[in-house]
């Protein structure tokens, strides 16, 4: 299988604090990966470096053999945990913005997804609830035909109904040409999506492996394993 993202000895320090400590990680095309760990474990930092928002202190990360930059931003679809849309936007403005600025954005798919997510295009982003905002962000991120999807805590603070819709959308977006990297500490809900998992704690990968193999080898679900490890 072809590697699409590769991190080698990747470290990130915030003053004295090590957010990532010599992380080696690679992901292949056509698989869904989970970066799992408690809050503050370094999951978001890793995704932000891959998205080109943070610079590594040491080590290297490449996506499609390029360091994060203008090219990788054109093939990486990033969903941050925070509400990053401009406050002046209505939902339709956000869709138009993505259509205008990402060549791989499929506006038709986005509009269909908005219907599925029960979102109205005329609504202002500032009036959306957390669940609605989560659904909108996911719609925007998954309506791109990217090589890599980076989803940072897509289920955090989301109500159970929205969670189901989000998981369905992620599954629908699966393609053999794309890789999906999901960070979460809500393992129970995303476990069924994952092909491969990385357990990240205090900036280090303490356990990794094929999800099915880990379940068989340890005789427990990934969720239970997560509770045991942390």
């Amino acid at each position: 299988m072809e590697q699409i993202l590769k991190a080698t000895q990747l470290s990130k320090y915030f003053y004295q604090k090590k957010a990532l400590d010599k992380v080696d990680l690679s992901i292949e095309k056509g698989k869904i990966y989970g970066i799992l760990g408690p809050n503050g474990g370094g999951k978001s930092t890793f995704l932000k470096i891959a998205a080109g928002l943070l610079k590594p202190s040491q080590g290297e990360i490449t996506i499609d053999n390029e360091k994060p930059g203008t090219y990788t931003k054109s093939i990486v679809s990033y969903l941050p945990e925070i509400n990053y849309l401009y406050k002046w936007m209505k939902i339709k403005d956000a869709v138009n913005f993505f259509k205008d600025l990402y060549a791989d954005f499929n506006a038709e798919k986005a509009r269909e997804s908005l219907k599925f997510m029960e979102l109205e295009e005329e609504e202002k982003v500032t009036t959306l609830s957390k669940g609605m905002m989560g659904r909108l962000k996911l719609t925007l991120a998954l309506s791109r035909k990217s090589k890599v999807y980076l989803l940072d805590e897509p289920l955090n603070g989301i109500d159970p109904i929205s969670r189901e819709k989000i998981i369905t959308s992620i599954l629908d977006s699966y393609s053999e040409e794309a890789s999906i990297l999901i960070s979460s500490h809500l393992i129970y809900y995303i476990e069924k999506l994952l092909d491969y998992v990385f357990f990240l704690s205090e900036g280090r990968i303490i356990l990794s492996g094929d999800a099915e193999e880990l379940r068989n080898k340890r005789g427990m679900s990934i969720d239970k394993l997560f509770q045991e490890v942390f």
């Binding site: 915030f14 003053y15 932000k48 998205a51 080109g52 928002l53 943070l54 610079k55 930059g69 203008t70 090219y71 931003k73 054109s74 990486v76 990033y78 941050p80 925070i82 509400n83 990053y84 849309l85 401009y86 406050k87 002046w88 403005d93 913005f97 205008d100 600025l101 990402y102």
Partner: protein, 247 residues
């Protein structure tokens, strides 16, 4: 860049309309007042002063917004959107500066337009007297003001971007940005302008005065130095935005 410019305008169009509408309405009210046959000449100067003050306030707002255009993206959550779109740092920065240039152009047109009409209401004798006192070469003066304006804004943009490169924590960012800015002001005056200071030291008010050709030559030197400095700050800020910032 045009797409980014379009969204920069979308982002702020209400404020843009509001500020120019305010300037035009105040100008029109003052003009209407001085055009009245009952209006006495002594108060025309007062109307010109009021309009100049309004115009100055709008100018300060334009500068503040010019700075905030980048500051918002660097220090607020919307930066996650701005800096994950596949555009070069120079494109992102240029879109903001072009909008700033448009704003400045509108402001200049409206201010000069109303200012000239108000000025023409003065008695002929006073007009001639004032015109003799303010006797500028137009182009060097305009170029100097324009390049100094963009230099100033870009120096602040650079200070903010460098701060975002050095600091992830937002707590001390204002302090650091201010420190970097004042260091740059000091450094540029002493080292960059230093060798030319004798030539350009009077330009701030008297640049391009027809009465003094030495000052005119000093004005062009300053314009030339400003253009180089603008290019340096634009390149450096673009580079940091693209390669070094931590959002």
């Amino acid at each position: 860049m045009m797409t980014l410019l379009k969204y920069e305008i979308y982002r702020r169009w209400r404020w843009l309309v509001l500020r120019y509408a305010a300037l035009i309405i105040i100008g029109a009210i003052l003009l209407n007042r001085v055009s009245s046959p009952a209006y006495q000449y002594e108060f025309i100067g007062e109307s010109i002063g009021k309009f100049a003050l309004t115009s100055l306030v709008i100018f300060v707002i334009i500068i503040i917004e010019g700075i905030n255009m980048l500051k918002e993206d660097l220090f607020e959550e919307c930066g996650y959107l701005t800096f994950t779109i596949p555009n070069k740092g120079r494109t992102i920065l240029a879109s903001k500066l072009v909008l700033l240039f448009f704003q400045l152009s509108f402001w200049t047109i409206i201010s000069i337009g109303f200012g000239s009409i108000l000025f023409s209401k003065l008695p002929y004798r006073e007009m001639v007297q004032i015109k003799t006192q303010i006797n500028f070469y137009f182009y060097p003066t305009l170029l100097f003001i324009l390049t100094a304006f963009f230099n100033f804004v870009l120096m602040i943009h650079f200070s903010l971007t460098l701060t975002r490169t050095l600091l992830v924590n937002k707590r001390y960012s204002s302090l650091l940005s201010t420190g970097i800015f004042f260091f740059l002001v000091y450094f540029i005056e002493k080292v960059y302008y230093g060798p030319f200071l004798n030539q350009i030291q009077y330009i701030s008010i008297e640049i391009g005065s027809r009465a003094n050709t030495t000052l005119l030559s000093g004005g062009y030197t300053a314009v030339f130095l400003n253009i180089i400095l603008t290019a340096i700050f634009f390149t450096a800020t673009s580079y940091l935005l693209e390669n070094k910032i931590n959002i």
